[in-house]
Symmetry: C2
Subunit: 604 residues, 2 copies
Amino acid sequence: MSQPSFRSSDSVRSGKPLRFAQSLALDAPLHLELGGELPEVEVTYETWGTLSAARDNAVLVCHAISGDSHAARHDVDDDPGWWEILIGPGRPIDTDRFFVICTNVLGGCRGSTGPLSRNPDTGAPYGPDFPQVTVFDMVEVQRRALDQLGIERLAAVVGGSLGGHQALAWAVRYPERVAATVAIATSPRLTSQAIAFDVVGRNAITRDPDFADGHYAGQGKGPAVGLALARMLGHITYLSPQAMSSKFEKDRLQAADIVSDFEKKFSVGSYLAYQGERFVERFDANSYVTLSMAMDLFDLGADQAALRAHLDAARCRWLVLSYTSDWLFPPEQSQEIVRALLAQPDPVKVSYCNVTSDCGHDAFLLEDDIDRYGELIRSFLDPEAGAQGQLFVDPDPAQLLQTRRVDYDHIAARVGPGDSVLDLGCGSGELLERLARAAPATGRRALGVELSEYALLECVRRGVEVIHGDIDNGLELFEDDAFDVVILSHTLQAVRDVERVIAEMLRVGRRAIVSFPNAAHETQRQRLGEEGLAPQASLLESHRWSDPPPLRVLSIRDFERFCVDRGVAIGDRVALDTRAGAVVEDEVNLRADLAIFVLERSAS
Amino acid sequence: MSQPSFRSSDSVRSGKPLRFAQSLALDAPLHLELGGELPEVEVTYETWGTLSAARDNAVLVCHAISGDSHAARHDVDDDPGWWEILIGPGRPIDTDRFFVICTNVLGGCRGSTGPLSRNPDTGAPYGPDFPQVTVFDMVEVQRRALDQLGIERLAAVVGGSLGGHQALAWAVRYPERVAATVAIATSPRLTSQAIAFDVVGRNAITRDPDFADGHYAGQGKGPAVGLALARMLGHITYLSPQAMSSKFEKDRLQAADIVSDFEKKFSVGSYLAYQGERFVERFDANSYVTLSMAMDLFDLGADQAALRAHLDAARCRWLVLSYTSDWLFPPEQSQEIVRALLAQPDPVKVSYCNVTSDCGHDAFLLEDDIDRYGELIRSFLDPEAGAQGQLFVDPDPAQLLQTRRVDYDHIAARVGPGDSVLDLGCGSGELLERLARAAPATGRRALGVELSEYALLECVRRGVEVIHGDIDNGLELFEDDAFDVVILSHTLQAVRDVERVIAEMLRVGRRAIVSFPNAAHETQRQRLGEEGLAPQASLLESHRWSDPPPLRVLSIRDFERFCVDRGVAIGDRVALDTRAGAVVEDEVNLRADLAIFVLERSAS
């Protein structure tokens, strides 16, 4: 098995050479977060695209534990980079538009200063004497490198996994220097389960006799077995169980024919053996231990209070992405970030999507789900470009309710110019865009909650902030009194627990606006009384009683009774005849087919 | 670190002595499934309770990878066993009623023949020369030991994890000797993810230089680091992420003060270090590799066809249990077993519960969820004892619909004496018990599907077969034409997709019986027409439009139109006035408050 190569060039690195990498030396020693300093720091980086004259189009891309500066190819003959699918001309991070820069992290082994680098005090490589660095140290190095390159402010910082930790650290530590952050498959800190896997991986390395307490450089061999075991373990956690099944379940005993001293009985075993062996050729064990520990030590807070104390400093726009099958960085952790961002006392724009994926943590490096997450990144970074992209048609026709426009007029009339608005089930963001346009001067906060990923993408294309979630359990992301108005338009029929949703709306908003079709409209009474057909639960012409999901029916009187029984104060009510486009003033429970209620908290 | 102890007594074993263990030698060599034979096989076992004169109350308990024969204490001074919560006087596996026996598995290191045993050919311990045994070999040894003890037939075989694999193997290999099988947290075969973890664990052991190709016995030290790493990894997979969070998240940097050369920076790390170190004291590495490989090789089939080819042989009653947070043996795998059992050409009784739990794979060894899974085992093993147990009150009052009895009379009248029945949303099994009692001679198959774990327990107490599942996605467990009649009583209002559920009912059953409240009943017409209140979606007096979940409303005419539109043939229909307890013959859509339809497949 080949060992990490130790080269004596300026750019000491293991593995394959990086043809387009450049390097710079920081102009002063680096003081480390956990104490001590590094007298000399070198940064290896690659760039794509052209820095604008205004120097305002720089996007910093941050890599994960085993990545490097080679995020994308530089010419047709170049090796593909680790984020080839996202970075390039016309790609979601469009190098025709942005100047993209990616640096190898501090502590890494692909050029930037790390355990393989020469310790100026001894003249020999640091090895195990390399100090423990943190994610904030990595980011400090990037910041100083950008200073030296003359880039004061980033259009965006983008990263997944450990790269996402760096993106978070940037937004928190240098708020004035980041216009937008894309935090992907990341977390405020690792779960205990994720740390546990890292602990076992590090133990495999450090208890490998060939590790020699980290002083393996001189002995001609390193902890190849331990490092390979750590990498095998990592690979398991990067893949979803579904992905593993589809790769290996069919021919589980047909192992690949590879040369390895590791077990090769099962096909999944030969895959792991291969991944382990290859990793040893390109990665340094001390570096792996350093980066893995930096990841485990990253901690923006154990609870919401602590997390907010960090995130409140950030002033950028946010796009947070998680993947449904990612169990290493589970979506709930991204949702904790979103929750904290939504609670910022001086609100910033936040959008979040939990991308449906079978690919596990690796999803952010794979093409499988790029139709959603790639396009979300494109539209978030550059809404104009997003709007030119292929439009997705929302698969849910209920979104296209013909009567919405009448509905919207009267809802909009009940939202004050300075009111902040949360729209539950916001679809593609039409109402929110309209409300935002109606109050350009106030910079109204207008945020939506939506379940469909495609509708969500339309929102981001419109520049509307949107949070991916299910109303039935989605309001827990929002603080008390977070909005002036919370809207639930033509959706009450479908929510699981009416009482809870309305209570939640009045917790999160000072007022709630609820619209629903009136089951006691004269056409419905006639339908039931004369034809013996049940009232319809939706104003959508095509709706049938048997359509999924089940929808409840209610009349204006039912709703009023409900409010009385539950102590919900009705502040205002408008009843509409949507076919005539008119407001109904008399006999509303007979003449109106749609009602809009403004609810307020009761005095009690 | 202490090493496995090698003793020269007849019962060679590592770890703590077993005071109440007995042992017997098989009376002839054992031929192994993968070839070769073991000339001498010793079986270490423990027993509790008294074998009945008829020898019909023996329950075999099978242990998991790190278990042994000591499943429960034998007297107050005895050490607690690994399944103390389940086995003992008055416990779910009641030793006042059953004669319980637990054997250490073949290949283990706690008394039964394994790598620590003397190889009669050489006079020295087998070590790495111990042949690879399989789960079927383990079961064959148990079968022969029971033969020698004069136990011909087991009242039940019970096991979780690898113990569940043994239980499955018993039911398949010796169908005439097993009356009932309880298969817990197990699978037809491991997932690729689970195998991957085992592969890394075995690599950690076999690539530990102190493993010495398994010949570590003579060198005074074994692969302590590798075995500890494998155990650490095992522990991560046994716990759920939730359980890990609640154990370690709060004080993640406050590691326990233990003596270990493993990393102890994080509290979860010190836990793993401790578990790893303790395991090395009581377990033999060659034995671990042997058992782990036996588990990975266990394979009742990659798909349903292959699985059925095995399970069709089984003739016992079944209780299958999985745990919602078990990601090592995910519930879907238990459901595959259930699906195959339900498809047996000559049906056997099967009940299944996916126990709600935060405890992960370990749940079956822990007390947390015993109120459900323990009581299910008790009632399944001995329905009489179950019926005497504390009755759980179903938390869903909708189950207690007053009108059910009238409903049931007319449904029961439409089920022929020989008809097999599937009741969707069967509640506590009242209708099914009634249908079973109505046809004692035919031995009618009557099975329910139910979502509530507590209602499910009531079913098992009544001796009613029941499958835990959600109707909206639960019928996939059932084959085409599996039943004569499929019933959906007063539940149509809540199913997500009416068309799909009815299509599924008519796929699985030759006929479907559907009952629902009629929204066009005169009281409902009056309610809407005169009072302006929406029709009610349930006959339950207390039901309100706003109650969760949303319920659709429909009339008899609506349903008839639906059937015509969708090409569903109506075989029979009865309309009821449930308050009067009478059948309505005329003006049914006006006079009936409940309708029962018998649906048949259309000729087209």
